[in-house]
C-alpha cells in the first residue's frame, strides 16, 4: 500500500515539468526543422516531376507522336467543322456564331485547366 502510494507520488513528480527559459526558442527550432523538411520534400517532388516531364516529353518527341497527333487533330478539326455546319443548318446553333475546330479544342483545354484548378483548391481546403 505504502509502495503504491510512493509510486503515485513518483508519477506525480515525473509529471511536474520543469519550465525551461528557452521554451520559445525550442518551439521555434522544431518549427524550423518542420519547415525545412517540408521545403525539401516540395523541392524533391518538383524536381522529380520536372525530370519525369522531360523524360516523357523526350519520349513523345522521339516516337513521332506529334506528327500523328497533328494528323488526328486535322481530321478532328474537319469532323468538328462539318458537325458544326450540320448543327447550324438544322438551326440548333445560331447562324452568325463563330465556331470552328480550333475554338472547340481551346474551350476544351480551358475547361480541363479550370477543373484542375478547382480540384487543387478543393484539395488544399480539405
Amino acid at each position: 500500500m505504502a509502495d503504491r502510494s510512493f509510486e503515485m507520488t513518483l508519477e506525480r513528480l515525473f509529471a511536474g515539468s520543469p519550465t525551461f527559459v528557452d521554451s520559445e526558442l525550442f518551439a521555434a527550432r522544431v518549427a524550423d526543422r518542420m519547415n525545412r523538411g517540408w521545403g525539401f520534400r516540395q523541392f524533391l517532388i518538383s524536381g522529380l516531376g520536372m525530370l519525369g516531364g522531360l523524360i516523357g516529353g523526350a519520349q513523345v518527341l522521339g516516337s513521332g507522336l506529334a506528327s500523328r497527333l497533328d494528323a488526328v487533330t486535322t481530321l478532328s478539326r474537319h469532323a468538328i467543322a462539318s458537325r458544326l455546319a450540320d448543327l447550324t443548318d438544322a438551326h440548333v446553333l445560331p447562324a452568325g456564331l463563330l465556331l470552328n475546330g480550333d475554338i472547340v479544342w481551346m474551350a476544351g483545354a480551358l475547361a480541363v485547366a479550370a477543373i484542375v484548378l478547382a480540384l487543387t483548391r478543393a484539395i488544399r481546403d480539405i
Binding site: 509502495d3 509510486e7 507520488t9 515525473f14 520543469p18 519550465t19 525551461f20 518549427a31 518542420m34
Partner: protein, 194 residues
C-alpha cells in the same frame, strides 16, 4: 475551429491535434510550446545531457507530427510524445552501451549509502535520480516518467523482464530513501536553464 494564435492558445490539446492532423503547423507549434518542457525534462531525467535531450525532443516532436494520425486521444498528448521521445533515447542509449551493461552496472554501482538517508533536508526528483545507476535511472524513468509497463520497458531495452523489475525495485528503494519517507511530496515548478 481555432485559427488565430490567441484561439489556439486557449484550445484543448485534442482540437490542436485535429488541426495538426489536417496539416496545421501553427496548431502543432502550440502543442510544442505547451509540452516541449515536459518532454525535454523527461529526457534529462532519463540521463541525457541537455544538448542531446533537446535534439531528441525535437526529433520526437517531428516524429509525432509525421505520425499524428495514429494518436487517437486515448491518453494525454504529452504522454504520447514522451513515449516516442523515451524510445528514441533508449535506441541511442542501447547503441552507446553494450547490451550486457545493464546487468554489470547493477552489480557495480550503488552510490547511495544508508548513512545518507535523511541527511539532506530537501532533495528534488532530478537530484534524487542522480543517485541511481544509469540502468536503474533508465528503468524507473521509462516506467514512471514515460508510462511504459515493465514488459514494455523490457522489450524496449531488450532486457529480461526480471532484470527490469529488479532495476526498478532498487531504483525505487534509493529514491524513497533520497526523497525522505513521510515528507509531503510536492512537485514544485522549477526553472531550468536550457
Amino acid at each position: 475551429m481555432p485559427d488565430t494564435h490567441a484561439q489556439q492558445a486557449s484550445a484543448h490539446d485534442l482540437e490542436l491535434v485535429a488541426l495538426a492532423a489536417a496539416g496545421g503547423r501553427a496548431a502543432f507549434g502550440e502543442l510544442v510550446r505547451r509540452h516541449g518542457s515536459g518532454v525535454r525534462g523527461l529526457l534529462r531525467r532519463m540521463g541525457a545531457d541537455p544538448a542531446l535531450a533537446d535534439d531528441l525532443a525535437q526529433d520526437a516532436f517531428l516524429t509525432a507530427f509525421e505520425q499524428i494520425g495514429e494518436f487517437r486521444g486515448e491518453g494525454a498528448f504529452q504522454a504520447w510524445v514522451k513515449r516516442i521521445a523515451a524510445r528514441l533515447y533508449v535506441k541511442r542509449w542501447r547503441r552507446q552501451m553494450r547490451a550486457d551493461l545493464l546487468a554489470a552496472v547493477a552489480e557495480a554501482d550503488d552510490p547511495v549509502g544508508p548513512g545518507e538517508t535523511g541527511a539532506v533536508a530537501r532533495i528534488d526528483l532530478d537530484e534524487a535520480l542522480r543517485a541511481l545507476s544509469p540502468a536503474e535511472r533508465m528503468c524507473v524513468s521509462l516506467c514512471y516518467g514515460a508510462g511504459l509497463s515493465h514488459g514494455e520497458t523490457a522489450a524496449a531495452l531488450n532486457t529480461p523482464l526480471g532484470t527490469v523489475k529488479s532495476h526498478v525495485k532498487r531504483g525505487l528503494d534509493k529514491l524513497r530513501n533520497r526523497l525522505a519517507p513521510g515528507r509531503e511530496f510536492g512537485a514544485p515548478e522549477q526553472e531550468a536553464h536550457g
